[in-house]
Symmetry: C2
Amino acid sequence: MKDPLSQTFAALADPTRRVILARLSQGEASVTDLAKPFLKEMSLPAVTKHLKVLEKSGLITKTRDAQWRPCKLNGVAFREASDWLEHYRVFWEASFDRLEAYLKTVSPQVKSKGKKHGRKK
Amino acid sequence: MKDPLSQTFAALADPTRRVILARLSQGEASVTDLAKPFLKEMSLPAVTKHLKVLEKSGLITKTRDAQWRPCKLNGVAFREASDWLEHYRVFWEASFDRLEAYLKTVSPQVKSKGKKHGRKK
DNA sequence: TTTATATTTAACTAAATGGTTAAATAAGGA
DNA sequence: TCCTTATTTAACCATTTAGTTAAATATAAA
């Protein structure tokens, strides 16, 4: 059995599952609803397995409504992942600042939002 | 080949690797330094492999100094993970608020301590 | 050149992961 | 009851992952 944070990050490490989560951020959805975008690429049981991974990680919860199993996001697991990452904020902000500084040396008039191409040399 | 975000989350989904990252948040370290806490549990090549995973994901970079290979954190990959998670902030804050509300029903005199969960700045 | 230290590579293995198809279960409605 | 829809489980398979030990490579120092 893996520790909860490892389970959460492992659950996030799959693009199918991240799309499922994005869909759930719009609101509850049944297994069939969630599977719909993937049925050209994979079977329904494959989606069931992805949902099982998400559920075990705590990222979603499943309830019952007649023969449907509506799923929804569960914030707690997201927060634990975010809290862990937060300790490293200083590093990604530092590297962002370095990028900004670099962009200024390349074309000083470019504001940080504008994603222009700098020419080397 | 996996997409970058999947690679990053997969790299984070291992407690050994997270300890390595925590160590690197204190500053650069060589492979041997990083391996030291684990040599009772696993071999040096195992650590080399973990470092390879971290490097491929972009979470660390390795340089050369004589026979040593100093490693350091690379903020960019952290930021990409954080940016993805950020979209779900509203969900974990909602669940945090529900927890707070619940705690108040249990013992209403407990004030929520200074540390708030709002975005910095 | 030889030796010592630091690190990686190769070859192998066991277990986990992500998919499949076919069958089973859950629940509502005719 | 039987039929239909929704979902899960079982059995299987290929690939990836995380570890091993032994050997190879990189660099400095004696």
